[in-house]
């Protein structure tokens, strides 16, 4: 998606936006022979990171609320069975969002295709698993 624009822009206006960076370069990113991507794509990547991070925060908050605010269930450790996987999933999503941001930024600089994200699959499986736990707890509690 962003393969061509940075190159063409820098050719049109070689002095614009190609100054040495003011902030540290991300670790593991080779600077040489890499073009700065169109700023719109950099912003889009940043917003994607933030959206995943908010998802992680929501999962953590939901997990904490489940363990602390739900009434006691009939099943021992029922609230923790619900809340702890959500907190763990939030932590995984947070860590993975940083890795994905780095990978996207690197791919855009090199003009490579963007790497596929595993996060939607992980998130879906996690939420379905927690839903299944909730159904099982409800069924066990109604006996």
């Amino acid at each position: 998606m962003s393969d061509q624009e940075p190159t063409s822009d820098s050719e049109k206006d070689p002095g614009n936006g190609m100054q040495p960076p003011e902030r540290p370069v991300p670790q593991g990113t080779a600077v040489r022979q890499e073009d700065e991507p169109d700023v719109r794509f950099t912003y889009a990547n940043e917003r994607t990171f933030l959206a995943w991070n908010r998802t992680a925060l929501a999962l953590i908050a939901t997990g904490v609320a489940a363990t602390q605010l739900l009434p006691k269930l009939q099943v021992e450790w029922g609230r923790r069975l619900l809340g702890l996987p959500l907190i763990a999933l939030g932590a995984v999503v947070a860590a993975e969002s940083l890795r994905q941001w780095r990978a996207n930024q690197r791919a855009m600089r090199r003009g490579d295709p963007l790497p596929r994200s595993r996060m939607p699959v992980v998130l879906t499986i996690g939420i379905v698993a927690v839903g299944a736990i909730a159904v099982a707890l409800t069924a066990a509690g109604s006996r």
Binding site: P6, N16, V39, R40, G63, L98
Partner: protein
């Protein structure tokens, strides 16, 4: 990372920057809510504690907004903000992971 990068349409880049600043603000609010949910357990609110808690939450929002503004202005102004450096993303991720660890530990403190 270049602070500005290149684009063929300055207006569109400005709007993209504005959307990004809004996204940072939403993330800040999400952090505040998450911390508030965590504190709700360790700090049962009685009497004037509610006003104190509300004040703390409001203060946290103001601090977040100020930090965001300083980061934006110090990294080369472009009106609606500029892409942030990798350290900001690391800090955000580390903070989220810290909240997860605290939430994990707090869940075992439930009576």
């Amino acid at each position: 990372m270049s602070p500005v990068g290149t684009t063929s349409d300055p207006a569109e880049a400005g709007l993209a920057g504005e959307r990004t600043v809004l996204a940072w603000n939403r993330s800040g609010l999400a952090v505040v809510v998450c911390v508030a949910v965590l504190l709700r357990h360790v700090w049962p609110l009685h009497g004037t504690d509610q006003e104190v808690a509300l004040g703390l939450i409001a203060g946290a929002v103001v601090v977040w907004a100020i930090v965001l503004a300083v980061l934006t202005l110090s990294s080369g102004t472009r009106g609606a903000g500029v892409p942030h450096g990798a350290n900001v993303f690391r800090l955000m991720t580390a903070g989220t992971l810290l909240l997860a660890v605290v939430g994990f530990l707090a869940s075992f403190a439930v009576s």
